[in-house]
Structure formats: structure tokens, C-alpha cells
Amino acid sequence: MEKINTILEFNKTCVSYTQQTMAVKYVTAQIEKNSITSIMGPSGCGKSTLLRAVNLMHKLYPNIRVEGEILLNGENILSMNPIEVRRNIGMVFQRPTPFPTMSIKENILSGFTLNSIRLDKYQKEEIVEQTLKSVSLWEEVKDVLNKKGTFLSGGQQQRLCIARALALKPQILLMDEPTSALDPIATKHIEDLLIELQKDVTILIVTHNMGQAKRISKHSMFMYLGEMVEYDLTENMFTNPKDERTKAYLTGQMG
């Protein structure tokens, strides 16, 4: 593969839920800074498991073991403090998860509240406006900032969640099928948004939608049964897959 400016690096990363089996097996890959990288593969191949290991979500569940290394700017995050890691690596989930008791404004600022970072009124207003603009939600919600986030539509809620993650200015944004619960128009909105955002943040996205991977990502990873089968420029992978399994998946003959 060509020389890239690496921000995140998997080095023989393995994840297992049980003693006998591995859900992710020896993944080694370098993720390019300020670009979008998508992870594809049939259901159950370990995409979510790999993604969640990157912001140490597995530490919530004592039965999950992660081996190998995951390096953020050369430093192994597996031995770093989870709170520090998560502040640098944001995550957006499949279903929108605005905090139900918080208003739109409080949701945007929740990253600061939850990290006990004090802001004055002026800073708060600026952050709320800027982040909402960056996810192009500002025009839609600027008059209802004090309403609950759960009143928004699914697509708006998801953009709110992206904004909430971006407010903390993370280096990397992890997204696990962020558009699978949305209609095509809301999906298009978010895709445009991600393309726009990649100049500020590196995006690692799990997607079931091959079209989406093709439209937005520079690199693509194809996983099968926990293994990384192929990792290449998206263009190369779609026009000329090297592995039979990738080919089968891309041509719709698998999962």
C-alpha cells in the first residue's frame, strides 16, 4: 500500500468474548489521518467489535479481552486511561442516543459537563452555534435549543449526536452504521456532512451499505469471520478486489 500519514494503527489486534473463539483475529492496518475509512463485511464478522475496541468500550464488559496493539499517534491506547482515550476518540452509535433528559443545547455541551469542564456563557453559546452549524443543524434548531433533543426527527437526532461528539474536538470519530436507521434523504445529509468533516477529524465508519463506502471513503477494509481479508484504497477494492471473498461480497453473492 502507498505511504500514508497514519493517525491510528491496528497491530495484530485480537478481540475475544469467550475463551475458545476470537471475534476479531490479528487485524493489522494503518488508518490515514483526515480521511474516511470504511469497514465492511457480512453480519457478525466483527466490525462493531473492532470499532468498539478503539475507544475502549470493551472495558465496560470484563469478559471481553483485547490483545495486540492499537496505536494512536504511536501510543498504545490499550494501556492508556479510558477517559483520556475517549476524549480523543468520539463515537456515534447505530441508533441516535441523545440524552433524554437534556435539551438540545445541553446535549451539545454534555461532553463538557460530563468531563467537569467549566465554560462561561459566551463560550457555551459559541460552541453550541459552531458545532450545530458544522453538522448543518443550526438553521433547523436555533429557535428550539432549549427543547429536549428527543423531539427531533431520527436524522436530526443523529446529527445532534455527531455534533455532541464533535464538540469535544476529537482526533478520531468512530461511527457504527450511523445511517442504517435513517431514510435516504437523512442518509445523504449525513454523508455530505462526513465528507465535509474529514478535514478536521479522521473518520472510521462501519457500514453495510457498499454504495455508501464507495461514495465517501478513501480507504476500505473488508472483514470476514473476524479476519481482515482486504484493505485498500476504496477505488481499487471496488474495481479490482484481490481476494475471492471480497469479490463475492461486493458482487452480492455473500451476506
Partner: protein
């Protein structure tokens, strides 16, 4: 036309089962309606301003009224104030402590100590109230050498604790795990997450639990007999015996001349408990939305 007959038969079966169910539910609600009706009819005639503002009558006044053939003077103000004071103190301790405990158990359900605390909560919830009264008597009343409002509050507090712990724990447990993960993904630590995300989201369920705990202990008589004892005038001090509405009912029952007052006091208690129950039902429905 066999199938047609079949449908008629099924219809008939359906109707008869419906009627049977109705009859039985009516039968089982008869005692409840009878109790409510009797308490209401007998009690409402006693409701007046003085019933809520005057303390219980002294034996002398009762005798005099009986001699002159007048209605018994006085009310249950000492009991209402006593009940409220003890409820307030008990809640002030049981609510924060119970929520803290419930949050701890819900958050660390795999830890040994949390399991132990959870088990204790079950035990405490199943402990008869009279035993809690006796224990409080031994722990508080004997060392203080006096019955007191404080001892009564402690007994009520012990009774409220397991109810609040359980409702907090259960409400926290049914919150979607996505909420927790979303908070942690933003870099929250456990304590902040609990305080800013989980507890506020569980507020409805916890509040309902608190209301139910209050309505549960407000009518308790046994634990107060060993601790608060009773007092025939309005008193605000915490280190002296104090009255409570359920204690008054018991006292009225034991005085042939005052038995009338039972009904007013009972109606007051019933109304209080019913209101809390309805309120909690209403709030649960509102927060579910």
C-alpha cells in the same frame, strides 16, 4: 352450515367467560368498596376545620361532653403534625441514602459486596414492621431513656430504605445500555455518568418509588408504638414522645368514648395514601411517554 354453528358456539363461550370474569372481579372488589364506603360515610361527618387544627381531647373534656350529650370535641392535629415531622426526617435520610445504595447496586451488580447489600435489602423488605419497632426500641429508646420523635423517624426510615433502594436499582437497570455507552464514549467517569445521565433519566421511576415508600409507612402503627409512643398535645421537639395518626386510631379504639374519632382519622389516612398512589400512577404514565 356446520361452520356457522361453530362460530355461534364460540361466540356463546366467549360471552359466558366474559360474564364469569366480570362477576368474579365484582365479587373481589366488594370488600374494598365496602371498606372505602364505610370509612367515607362515617368519617366525612367528622371532617371540620377543628378536626384538623385541634389536638386530641383530654379525658376530662371527653367526660364532660359525654355528660352533656355533646359531640366529642377536639381533633387529630397532634397526630398529623407528628406524622409529618417523622415522615420528613425519615425521608430526608432514606431518600438520599436509598438512591445512593440503589445506584451502587445497579452499577456494580457483579461485585460481591453489592450482591450482599442487595440480599440485605430483600431481608429488610421482608422484616415485619413490629420487629423493626422493637429493634429501634433497643437501639434508640433504651439508650436515650425516652420514647421520642427521633426514634420513630428512625424506625420509619429503616422501613422506607429497602423500598427506595429497590425502585432506584430497578429503574436504573432497565435504562437502555446505549445511554450508558453514549455517556462513557464522551469521556465521562462513572460518578458523573450516574449523576448527570443515569439518575436524571431514571427520575420518574425513583420518584414513584419514593411516593410508594411514603404511602407505605404513613399508616404503620406497630413500629411507632415502641418508638414514638404518642402524645396528647401538639409537640415539635424531637427528643420527646410524639403522636402520629395511626397511633391515634389505636388510642381512639381503646377509649369507648372516643371511638367516633377513629373514622375521621382513618378517612384522613386513606385519602392521603390514595392520593399518593394515584399521583404515582399518573406520574409513571406521564414519564413513560
Amino acid at each position: 352450515m356446520k361452520s356457522n354453528l361453530n362460530i355461534k358456539q364460540r361466540f356463546f363461550k366467549d360471552r359466558s367467560i366474559f360474564v364469569i370474569v366480570c362477576v368474579f372481579s365484582l365479587l373481589s372488589s366488594i370488600p374494598l368498596i365496602a371498606i372505602l364506603g364505610e370509612v367515607f360515610v362515617k368519617g366525612i361527618s367528622q371532617f371540620s376545620l377543628s378536626f384538623f387544627t385541634l389536638p386530641t381531647p383530654t379525658a376530662y373534656k371527653v367526660l364532660k361532653a359525654v355528660e352533656q350529650g355533646l359531640p366529642i370535641p377536639g381533633g387529630i392535629a397532634n397526630g398529623i403534625i407528628g406524622s409529618m415531622i417523622m415522615l420528613l426526617i425519615a425521608s430526608a435520610v432514606a431518600i438520599p441514602l436509598g438512591i445512593l445504595c440503589g445506584a451502587y447496586i445497579a452499577d456494580n451488580s457483579k461485585q460481591r459486596f453489592a450482591k450482599f447489600v442487595s440480599y440485605l435489602t430483600d431481608l429488610l423488605q421482608g422484616t415485619p414492621s413490629v420487629i423493626i419497632g422493637i429493634i429501634t426500641y433497643i437501639w434508640i429508646v433504651i439508650p436515650m431513656k425516652t420514647y421520642s420523635a427521633l426514634a420513630g423517624s428512625i424506625a420509619l426510615c429503616i422501613m422506607m430504605l429497602p423500598l427506595i433502594i429497590r425502585s432506584t436499582e430497578e429503574t436504573l437497570r432497565i435504562l437502555p445500555s446505549s445511554l450508558k455507552e453514549a455517556g462513557l464514549a464522551l469521556g465521562a467517569n462513572k460518578a458523573k455518568l450516574m449523576l448527570k445521565v443515569q439518575l436524571p433519566s431514571a427520575f420518574g421511576g425513583i420518584f414513584t418509588g419514593i411516593l410508594l415508600a411514603i404511602s407505605r409507612v404513613i399508616g404503620e402503627t406497630a413500629p411507632l408504638m415502641f418508638t414514638a409512643l404518642g402524645c396528647s398535645f401538639i409537640r415539635l421537639s424531637l427528643d420527646k414522645p410524639i403522636s402520629a395518626v395511626p397511633l391515634l386510631i389505636w388510642e381512639f379504639f381503646n377509649d369507648p368514648y372516643q371511638q367516633e374519632l377513629i373514622w375521621g382519622a382513618s378517612l384522613f389516612l386513606l385519602t392521603f395514601v390514595l392520593t399518593l398512589n394515584l399521583l404515582s400512577k399518573y406520574l409513571t404514565r406521564k414519564w413513560k411517554k
